[in-house]
Symmetry: C2
Subunit: 273 residues, 2 copies
């Protein structure tokens, strides 16, 4: 890990329901802003983003700003900087957020998927410290994921590795549809809770059977609502894990960094991994 000292970094996390931005230096958060995600028009959305970043860098000399890291909940073209498909912020689809931020603030810009940034932050500063093989899963408006193998982030061949929420696990339905969205609709009825526990348990066991990580770190906006169900979810997962050694050793942890994880991870795009 290469920490760039003495320079400021802006981290922005654009989620389906809120935007979280922070000013970072030496891996520490100095100042942060949270606003609701504006979905009316792209123009209004961008005005708000410009405003909150403007506030964060207001007192900083431009030459002391290393860059802006930006996370978006959706499929991105990381090289081009285009938001390909953000299912919960459709006004951004097709928009080149990287070029726009670069033009507005004149600094280097790096972007990534929000779930990968959650994992990056937890790996560098939170629950994933010291592990080499980690899967991160975010349960929020949708279900996202990221994969670290041998201390390296796995991007895949088209920057879309880690989409664990779109793993189909029952009746042609995917983990995202069968878990977070389901539990919110049903307001924790007993039957809905049991289904949700079983489906999330199966989702975790599938990940463990395929990737055999040391640890799975769960975070995202819905984690507070569901963490009481974790022991039951782990029991279901254990039933379906094929390797006795994995079953014994794998850990399922909750992220330590709370709602700042995304913005921290975005700033940490300027750290080598």
């Amino acid at each position: 890990m290469l920490v760039i000292k003495e320079k400021y970094i802006i981290g922005v996390d654009i989620g389906g329901s809120k935007i979280n931005a922070g000013l970072f230096k030496n891996g520490k958060i100095l100042k942060s802003v949270k606003i609701a995600t504006s979905k009316k028009s792209r123009r209004e959305f961008l005005n708000k983003i410009e405003k909150i970043i403007g506030e964060l860098i207001f007192k900083i000399d431009k030459k002391d700003l290393l860059g802006i890291g930006c996370g978006v909940a959706g499929a991105l073209d990381l090289g081009e900087g285009v938001i390909l498909n953000a299912p919960n912020i459709k006004i951004l689809n097709g928009f080149n957020i990287k070029n726009w931020l670069h033009k507005k603030f004149g600094c280097e810009v790096k972007i990534d998927n929000d779930a990968r940034l959650f994992l990056r932050a937890e790996y560098l500063f939170g629950a994933g410290k010291g592990y080499k093989n980690i899967v991160g899963m975010t349960l929020g408006t949708g279900v996202g994921g990221g994969i670290i193998i041998g201390s390296k982030m796995v991007y895949g061949s088209n920057d879309s590795a880690g989409e664990v929420g779109h793993m189909v696990i029952d009746h042609g339905k995917d983990l995202e549809v069968l878990t977070v969205k389901q539990i919110r609709k049903s307001k924790f009825s007993k039957i809905a809770t049991e289904k949700f526990e079983k489906n999330l348990g199966i989702g975790l066991s599938n990940i463990i059977n395929i990737l055999d990580p040391e640890v799975i770190i769960i975070g995202g906006g819905a984690i507070e609502d569901i963490k009481i169900f974790l022991p039951k979810i782990e029991m279901t997962a254990a039933e379906f894990i094929i390797s006795p050694k994995s079953r014994k050793h794998v850990k399922i942890l909750i992220g330590k960094l709370g709602e700042d994880a995304g913005a921290m991870g975005a700033a940490a795009l300027f750290y080598e991994l």
Copy 2:
């Protein structure tokens, strides 16, 4: 890739229904033997293994034998060399095949899971040449898998990464139960075929959503029976792939090396990857 020149390597592939062994030099197969897997007793099984390896190395000067690579269809402790759980060759469960081969033949022995060896061989010599991110899937007595990311084999934290056959995809049932085993039972009735196509398509799309490989290579004993269904299976997979770029670019290929892939991969354990 480091090819060890001028030395012989034995590759043995112990599958659920047959054992395939070969004598290799400079990446080429010189001689091979195939026998049915003897499941009556461990003693009889080992006698046969000793006999076929003995025949392959009969005319070779011991100092010219680099080592023996051995693949087993099951969960292994690669460090210790113990077969933890071979569901289709139960007589081997708990047996230290690595130590036994070393004592019998006095050379270095390396072992690995048979599906990973299929992938290793296809990557080095077959359908996977030139790709960096590959998933291999074997459809045989069971369903196995292996993963290469960034040209490196992924072993996971407990040597059990790649168990794609144990991914649950419907009704608490896994890909192995819902595909190969199912299609064999039902002798290709129309309904069974449709279910099988759908389930294998979903299994592939899950792998693509999670790992975003350039290519998935399918092999194993059942591939000849099912390759006519591949176009339909690919169509189902495409329905469930979330990233438009992955959907467009991912390739689903059939292995090129046929039934020798496992033994070739076993010998190739002596090649750096």
